[in-house]
């Protein structure tokens, strides 16, 4: 087991560069999300960039290290929390104003002033975590397929 975790992922250069780079990529994603009201960017692009930081780490260090950093279930829970925040803010402001967000409708005064940032954060949370979950699931299937059993199955059939 120990041997396997050591040889997982790419070689040393890729690991070192990914370890350096992932913090900066994460920072850039958070910057895009938080400054979306004055610079180009926004919740979608920022969320995908945050997901890309995790994906880079997983690709370089291997599946086990990536899962140790942020497991699939934790990511799914975070995505659900983001979606619930979005839905809750939407319902709260719809109950109060009849219109969503356009004139700073929110639950508290602070939220009223920062409604759009709240929506943006929720959006980024949902998008990044969902994409990380999808990535980890496709890679898991890739490992199960790789052992060649399916191919043998197919050859026997044809």
């Amino acid at each position: 087991m120990n041997d396997r975790t050591q040889h997982e992922g790419m070689d040393l250069v890729a690991k070192a560069i990914a370890g350096w780079l992932k913090g900066f990529i994460l920072l850039f994603g958070v910057y895009l999300v938080l400054h979306s009201h004055e610079t180009p960017g926004g919740g979608f692009a920022g969320g995908i960039i945050i997901a890309c930081a995790f994906i880079l780490f997983t690709l370089a260090e291997g599946q086990h290290a990536g899962m140790k950093l942020l497991s699939k279930h934790a990511a799914a829970k975070l995505a659900s929390v983001g979606a619930l925040i979005f839905l809750g803010a939407a319902i709260a402001s719809a109950c109060r104003k009849g219109a969503l967000g356009a004139d700073h409708a929110g639950i508290l005064l602070f939220l009223e002033k920062n409604a759009m940032s709240l929506y943006d954060l929720a959006l980024a949370l949902v998008v990044s975590m969902l994409i990380y979950v999808v990535f980890s699931v496709t890679s898991a299937v890739h490992v199960t397929v790789k052992d060649g059993q399916r191919k043998m199955f197919r050859q026997r059939r044809t």
Partner: protein, 115 residues
């Protein structure tokens, strides 16, 4: 003329969807159709020499209205890009499952192996 080039892009994707046998090729053709439609929508809102719809320092709203490109198609296309991403994820998942089930990407063979 630029609109016609976008239409050519869409037509190429349509041709790929209808003619190709490989499932992954069909997914790629759908992605090309999406690209063509996105570029077309943004081109409709383009104003020659226009700036991005961002209020910069020292600009008033009136100059923005006079100079900026149309923001509405851009917002809709931003939505469309993300929905296309979700669609592509779903299609790729179906492709992986089909490959596991049938051992091939060929759609004609899938029809034969059914049942």
């Amino acid at each position: 003329m630029v609109y016609a080039l976008c239409l050519v892009l869409i037509a190429i994707g349509l041709y790929g969807v209808v003619v190709k046998k490989n499932v992954v090729k069909i997914v790629i053709s759908l992605a090309i159709i999406e690209y063509g439609i996105n570029v077309l929508l943004v081109l409709i809102g383009y104003r020659s020499g226009g700036c991005a719809p961002i209020l910069q320092q020292g600009m008033t709203a009136a100059t923005l209205v006079a100079n900026s490109v149309d923001p509405l198609p851009q917002a809709l296309v931003l939505t469309a890009i993300m929905i296309n991403l979700g669609m592509l994820i779903l299609m790729v998942a179906i492709c992986i499952r089909l490959y596991e089930r049938y051992g091939t990407f060929d759609i004609t063979e899938m029809r034969r192996l059914k049942g």
